[in-house]
Assembly symmetry: C2
C-alpha cells in the first residue's frame, strides 16, 4: 500500500468549483483497480494550494493501470482545467502509523 | 481536525536510525493535548525525503500548545540531529474523504 501525494495549485477564487469537481470525480478513483481511498486537503497557509492524497495497493496501480485508463482521462478533464501549473506528484511508503 | 504536513530531509544513509528515532518519539505526540494520530511516510522518488503527517484537533493544538511544550523540545532533540535542512511545515484542512 502506498500513497500518491499530488500537490495542486489553482486560482483560489475557484476553490468551490474545484472542490466540487474533485468530489464529482471520486467515483473515477473508487472504480479504478487498486484504489483504496482518497482525500482532498486544502493547505491552510497558501491560498489555492491543495494536497490530493490517494491510497493505492501499489505504485503500479497508480502509474501504470490508472494513468493508462479512461478514468484518468476523465479525471483530468474534470480537474485539469483548474490547475494553474502541472501538479507535483510523488509517492510514499508508509513507514509507520504510530498510534 | 487538521493535518500537520512536515516535509523532512535527512542523509539517506541514516534512514534506519531516523525511522527508529521517530518511532521512539511517538509517545511524545501521543501524550500531547489535541494530538490524534501520526504517521511517517518515506517519499519513494527522492532518497532521504519523508513526510510526517500528524493529525491535530486544531491548528492551535500544534502551533501553540505543542510547540511551547517540553514534548516538542524532546521531539526535536530526538529527530532534529537528522535534519539536513529545516523541515517545511504546512497545515491542511480535510475537505473530503471520498470513499
Amino acid at each position: 500500500m502506498i500513497y500518491e501525494l499530488a500537490s495542486i495549485k489553482i486560482d483560489p477564487t475557484k476553490s468551490n468549483e474545484f472542490e466540487a469537481a474533485v468530489k464529482s470525480a471520486a467515483p473515477l478513483f473508487k472504480n479504478s483497480k487498486g484504489c483504496i481511498a482518497m482525500n482532498l486537503q486544502k493547505i491552510i497557509e497558501n491560498d489555492g494550494e491543495y494536497l490530493l492524497q490517494v491510497t493505492w495497493e501499489s505504485l503500479e496501480a497508480h502509474i501504470v493501470d490508472f494513468r493508462n485508463s479512461q478514468n484518468f482521462q476523465d479525471w483530468r478533464a474534470l480537474a485539469g482545467p483548474f490547475f494553474i501549473e502541472p501538479p507535483k506528484v510523488v509517492h510514499s511508503d508508509i513507514i509507520g502509523s504510530f498510534f
